[in-house]
Amino acid sequence: MQATLPTAPAFDRAAERARVQQERRRSAMIDFSVTLGTIALALLVGFLVMLIVGKDPLLAYSSLLSGPLSRSNRTGRWIEDATTLIILGLSVSIPFRARQFSLGAQGQMFIAAMIAAVVAIYLPMPPVVAVLLPLAAAMVVGFLVGLLPGLMKAYLNANEIVSTLMLNAVIVLLYDFLLTNVFTPPGSQSLRSELIQPNSMLLRLTAIFGVNLGRANLAVLFVAILVIAVWALLNRTPFGYEIRTIGANEKFARYGGINTRRTIALSFAIGGAIAAVAGAHLVLGVHQRLIPGIAAGLGFEGIVVALLARNNPLFIPITGVFYSYLRVGGDIMEQEAAVGAEIVQVIQAVIILLLTAQVLVDYVKARSRRARSVSCAA
């Protein structure tokens, strides 16, 4: 038997590179269209649900989809909500990139709001300092509150999901207790603290543009800086490299000489510091005082925003803006079309389910590749 032995084909690097780049473009296109398709599908599900419960889906959808733009104060609500959600998404993305499922953003926001408020109410300060100092105090506390479960995970192997959720419960109840018994002035009609000093209040956009933009404030400009800072931290610093390497393969990181425990603990802490920025925004920019449940439920919305963006800080502004649009639109739909906000939650849930199912995207990619190879063969 004399087998013919073809020599291995030469490896054409330039051609391979072109092929790879084409593949990448195609893959990005698929990611994008799957995302759009998912949203459409989710809206369709919501449409059917409304039909079934006998509501008018067209009216409901017109208020959901055009609501946030229908009046300037609603747009303001959208801006305000997006600001908080983007900051939160960034906060969550850091431990998530290290594959640490820290759910502590909720508690970190509450405690940060409280610290920022204490400084901004009780400590007289000149302008600018009156904003920066409460913010810095909140961030330090957020850092420490994040560090605790981080250390517990890194050195004691305590499950971070349990520890952060428990810590949230402690902090939220502590917040309620202190708000009721310490911060609410005696004789006050409702449960809320005093207003923060005027120097500490972030300038509202209404005052700048002369149209009523509700409580949206200067913090929105700060968001852009934060996005770039988090991106640079993850992609341009050794610490970010450590986080991403641990997230990709912790054993490999350790083998390569990365101090995995320190990095894991710090990823929680830095996430905590950024969540504290969101908490400070609620006090200094939005409510200008402490109110009950100031950040209720927001922590988990931040997780959604980060997951939708696949923990990529550059996509978080997009998903944050989109998601807050749905949230604000949902509220308006509830008012105008008497459709419960539950419908919006159904739509949100469907979107999250579909988008977080990476399998789906991979499936579409594989199918399209096969379809192409068949058409090439034909």
Binding site: Q21, R236, T237, T245, A248, N249, K251, F252, G257, Y363
Partner: protein
């Protein structure tokens, strides 16, 4: 099997129009490099995968096999590389599992033991029916797997790389058992990439390469060189040629090293040896005798319980992996695709895991993408890594090229000591050749190399000196690895023979 084609959902073409025929009563070897499509072809035959197109004909009749159950019903049995046994059950229980003899609603244990004993005698596969699987050696577990297939009535037995986990002695026993099976009328398909074994055991040999069947030849017409050429598609050099070692000073000194697991099991017991500059010290031994732990303790991944580890006279015992690396130790890990790379990170990023925080890759607290890219371009070029672009995830490379990424990174750190753990495990001939070349090149350049390998022929032909580990101890150190026979080393591996401490110390 006729014109079998299999395309996986991720687009990988595993088998491309493969036709494969096995005659009743023969031992048919199926050889090929990793990823050549052997395993997929056998999974199709065993009903674990469905072919995209093609036909299976058994005893003259076309059949469809969609599940292993259907394969078993047709008399096809498979012994996997990773045994699928219940560790806490006895051997007899494992053999009858899934088709238990019953007495009322209960398993008839006595009948199970009787059936096991009968089968074991009939085919010369000695096992202890009442022993718990967890407590018996690997060779016996493999016989249990074979008996299990026979118990289910298999006429055609597929053995997937059966010798990978065996000592030479155990391999001999397995081959004797295979011959007895064939004499009893069974048909055996033997998957391997160890050519010497293939030549020893099989009647006919089929070679696969790049998802295609290259050809089927009679053993009488074949020799190792022809088979290697068919597998790789070019001439390969199976014999390792190396100039005599230019032995320098002691680089690594290990004395009385002890290590125990968290559960308190002593894994390393007073291990002592030296590795000199410019030599390869091989450590042979059946897997699980402390080699993995030895490597990881030296690399800083586990903390020793006691003893001395010195590199160039400075203690490195108990340092962190980073400090050990800084001191001049490079490490090609045993399980490279799990520990040696991060699949989702880019090639560039994988190539700097030991040096990312230093100049030139980081300056003033910021990483420098241009330097990282330059480093990766240089290494891709130098080590002939087939990668179109350094920004691609490592996971997009073939297994062999991922290995090259690991080797490129570790050797480019300019180590004083290179630890290579199982450097050619799961690696095909082409990549094995590359790995051997690189190790010898590093040795000739004066690097001290500690080579740990369960592949006896590899460790014997590469090493200048050879140590043997058994049960956490060094039981022998041979000052010259040339002229040793596998059988002799095998006796030390099994613990039947040991050198005296004085003899070992003389050869440190």
């Amino acid at each position: 099997m006729r014109h079998i084609t299999k395309i996986y959902p991720n687009g990988v073409l595993a088998d491309n129009d493969v036709t494969f025929e096995v005659r009743a009563g023969e031992i048919h070897a199926l050889v090929g490099e990793n990823g050549a499509g052997k395993s997929t072809l056998m999974k199709i035959l065993y009903g674990m995968e469905r072919p995209t197109s093609g036909q299976i004909i058994l005893r003259g009749k076309p059949v469809t096999i969609h599940t292993p159950h259907e394969a078993i019903a047709l008399g096809i049995g498979m012994v996997h590389q990773n045994f699928m046994l219940v560790p806490s059950f006895t051997i007899a229980e494992n053999i009858v599992l899934g088709a238990e003899p019953l007495r009322g609603a209960f398993v008839d244990r006595r009948a199970a033991i009787a059936a096991t004993t009968r089968l074991a005698q009939e085919y010369g596969l000695s096992v202890d029916p009442e022993a718990v699987v967890d407590a018996v050696p690997v060779g016996m577990r493999q016989r249990v797997e074979i008996l299990k297939a026979l118990y289910r009535g298999a006429d055609v037995l597929i053995l997937d790389e059966p010798t990978a986990v065996l000592t030479p002695q155990e391999t001999h026993e397995l081959f004797a058992a295979i011959r007895q099976l064939v004499n009893a009328g069974k048909t055996v398909i033997f998957i391997s990439h160890k050519l010497r074994e293939v030549m020893e055991i099989s009647d006919r040999i089929s070679v696969m390469r790049d998802a295609r069947m290259v050809g089927t030849i009679d053993k009488r017409e074949a020799d190792e060189h022809l088979l290697a050429r068919m597998m790789v598609g070019r001439e390969v050099f199976l014999d390792i040629e190396k100039p005599p070692a230019q032995r320098g000073p002691v680089v690594l000194k290990v004395r009385d090293l002890e290590y125990a697991t968290e559960a308190g099991v002593e894994v390393l017991k007073h291990v002592s040896f030296n590795v000199y500059a410019g030599e390869i010290l091989g450590i042979a031994g059946v897997e699980g005798n402390g080699q993995t732990e030895l490597v990881e303790v030296i690399a800083g991944l586990r903390a020793p319980l006691g003893g001395v580890i010195e590199l160039d006279g400075k203690s490195i015992a108990g340092l962190t992996p980073r400090e050990v690396r800084r001191a001049g130790v490079a490490h090609i890990p045993e399980d490279r695709l799990t520990n040696g790379v991060a699949m989702t990170l880019s090639i560039q990023e994988n190539l700097i895991v030991d040096r990312y925080a230093r100049e030139p890759f980081t300056r003033g607290g910021l990483m420098r993408p241009a330097e990282i890219a330059r480093n990766s371009e240089a290494l891709i070029e130098q080590y002939a890594i087939r990668a179109p672009d350094g920004t691609l995830p490592v996971g997009s490379l073939s297994g062999g090229n991922m290995q090259k990424v690991v080797v490129a990174r570790e050797l480019s750190s300019r180590p004083k000591l290179l630890i290579a753990a199982q450097p050619t495990r799961g690696v095909d001939i082409g990549a094995t050749e590359f790995m051997h070349e690189q190790l010898i090149k590093a040795r000739n350049a004066g690097v001290a190399i500690l080579l740990v390998s369960a592949d006896l022929s590899e460790v014997m032909s590469l090493s200048d000196r050879l140590a043997v580990m058994h049960d956490g101890r060094i039981v022998a150190i041979f000052p010259d690895a040339r002229g040793l026979t596998e059988e002799e080393v095998g006796l030390y591996m099994l613990g039947t023979k040991t050198m005296t401490p004085a003899e070992i110390e003389r050869n440190w």
